[in-house]
């Protein structure tokens, strides 16, 4: 299995011994050893995955990197976070997924209204299996634990990923005041309940409900 480690906080180094990883297309910055790069149509999820991604708009172009040696990945100098999966599922915005172990399965899932408000479409990417994945964030991400007694509310623009057994609710604080221009500025939130981890970045994407 390929081993992931961080070289600084913005470069991911993956050591491979003949195995493969999947990475965002064009994110390789350097390698030593022997590497082969192959673009994967539809994120390597087969014809069905390809069609689903096309339909859902949750598009990502991935490449398969296979070989011996060390390969370095980076994406627009954004911070990289490593996630260890033990048979559980990671939900991540496709734009934040940098690299996954070859043994992990990726797919798409419906997220409901939440996605609509975060400006990332109604669907999100899932990563499943056992192995490591790397996700990017604008600024150092904060990992927050959610337990049944501590639910968490997150700004849709700052959300990047979550893992574990979490239920998400879309919360709207829109009142008549919002329409008078006197809103609380945080009209839309995603509320996470259950057991798991939520990754939040210290920066907000432009969202539909951004300034309401």
């Amino acid at each position: 299995m390929a081993t992931f480690r961080l070289q600084g906080s913005k470069v991911l180094a993956v050591e491979m011994t003949g195995d493969a990883v999947r990475a965002k297309n064009g994110s390789m910055v350097a390698y030593d050893g022997q590497m082969a790069f192959k673009k994967m149509s539809g994120g390597g999820e087969g014809i069905r995955g390809m069609v689903t991604r096309r339909l859902t708009g949750e598009q990502m172009t991935m490449m398969e990197v296979k070989g011996q040696g060390t390969c370095y990945f980076a994406d627009r100098a954004s911070e990289i976070n490593l996630v260890q999966l033990h048979g559980d599922k990671l939900y991540v915005e496709s734009s934040n997924l940098l690299c996954t172990d070859g043994g992990l399965r990726t797919g798409t899932t419906f997220t409901g209204l939440r996605g609509g408000a975060s400006g990332n479409g109604l669907f999100t990417t899932t990563v499943e299996g056992t192995g490591q994945a790397a996700i990017t964030s604008d600024g150092t991400a904060v990992v927050l634990r959610v337990t049944p007694q501590y639910p968490l509310s997150v700004d849709p623009g700052a959300y990047i990923a979550h893992q574990g057994n979490l239920r998400q609710d879309f919360q709207s604080g829109v009142t008549f005041r919002t329409f008078l221009g006197e809103g609380g500025g945080e009209a839309f939130q995603i509320r996470f309940e259950g057991d798991g981890l939520v990754y939040v970045q210290p920066s907000e994407r432009n969202t539909v409900g951004g300034d309401v």
């Binding site: 904060v142 634990r145 968490l152 006197e182 500025g185 210290p202 920066s203």
Partner: protein
């Protein structure tokens, strides 16, 4: 592989930085003012209300004196811990002890209501007066300087204890026809550093370590009244490029210099 730090409400710091870019505020039935849209996540029960909310009237009377950009601010109220961040800029908290500090409007993220926020006479800046904590964002860590000092307009974050802020133009820039031509056309080269802010007097000047400006928060138009410096709002103010960026030494400046 380094396992990432996982935070929960018991391990999150109280009124301190989580990392360089994220600040955690603990609310225990208390209130904080924050700029709209800077909350990224929270635990607990926290309400966010616009400044116009009726119940907040008394609070506003004591700690919010800047009606001109009231719509940019909200009051967070309740109990729990909330995380603040701003476009992955560095955030820092500062304590004021019966003091005063003037800061660029776009850099201020949040403050305790024990402080009073007022609009500075200098357009585009806000002044905090009193005792309490506030959170400010900057591009790169903040550097503290003692006056007398001349600073680049884009690197200025704010100043405390009121040294006197004024404009400074390099002298050679204004003398002679050649100086004018050089400034106007760039022939002969302009260093881009001909205009600075100068601070003299006792106090502290805060600088950020880059020249990237925070996207401007409009501070509103000051009512035109004799004797009140006008802010050319919404994007006015020294060193801030509004919709039409104007380099120092363009015709507008020259005209003024020649008294036209």
């Amino acid at each position: 592989m380094s396992t990432p730090l996982v935070f929960d409400p018991t391990t999150l710091p109280s009124d301190d930085n989580v990392n360089a870019y994220t600040f955690c505020v603990e609310l225990k039935g208390s209130q904080w003012f924050l700029q709209k849209g800077k909350m990224i996540a929270y635990y607990g029960r926290i309400d966010f209300n616009g400044i116009g909310h009726g119940r907040l009237d008394r609070l506003l009377r004591t700690s919010f004196h800047s009606p001109l950009h009231a719509s940019d601010w909200v009051v967070a109220e309740g109990s729990g811990k909330m995380l603040l961040a701003d476009r992955a800029f560095d955030v820092n908290s500062f304590d004021l002890d019966d003091g005063n500090l003037t800061i660029r409007a776009g850099n201020l993220l949040a403050y305790q209501p024990t402080l009073a926020l007022k609009q500075s006479i200098v357009p585009g800046f806000l002044t905090l007066i009193g005792t309490g904590k506030f959170v400010a964002a900057s591009n790169g860590p903040v550097v503290f300087m003692e006056p007398p000092v001349r600073v680049d307009p884009q690197a200025l974050v704010g100043w405390a204890d009121c040294p006197s802020p004024c404009h400074h133009y390099d002298h050679g820039y204004m003398t002679g026809v050649m100086g004018g031509v050089r400034a106007l056309t760039g022939i002969g080269g302009a260093s881009g550093e001909e205009h600075q802010f100068e601070f003299v007097g006792a106090g502290t000047v805060l600088l950020q370590s880059s020249e990237v400006l925070m996207p401007e928060q409009a501070t509103g138009v000051v009512g035109s009244e004799p004797g009140v410096p006008s802010g050319h709002a919404p994007a006015g103010g020294p060193g801030q490029h509004g919709s039409a960026p104007r380099l120092p030494g363009q015709l507008g400046d020259l005209q003024r210099r020649f008294g036209l």
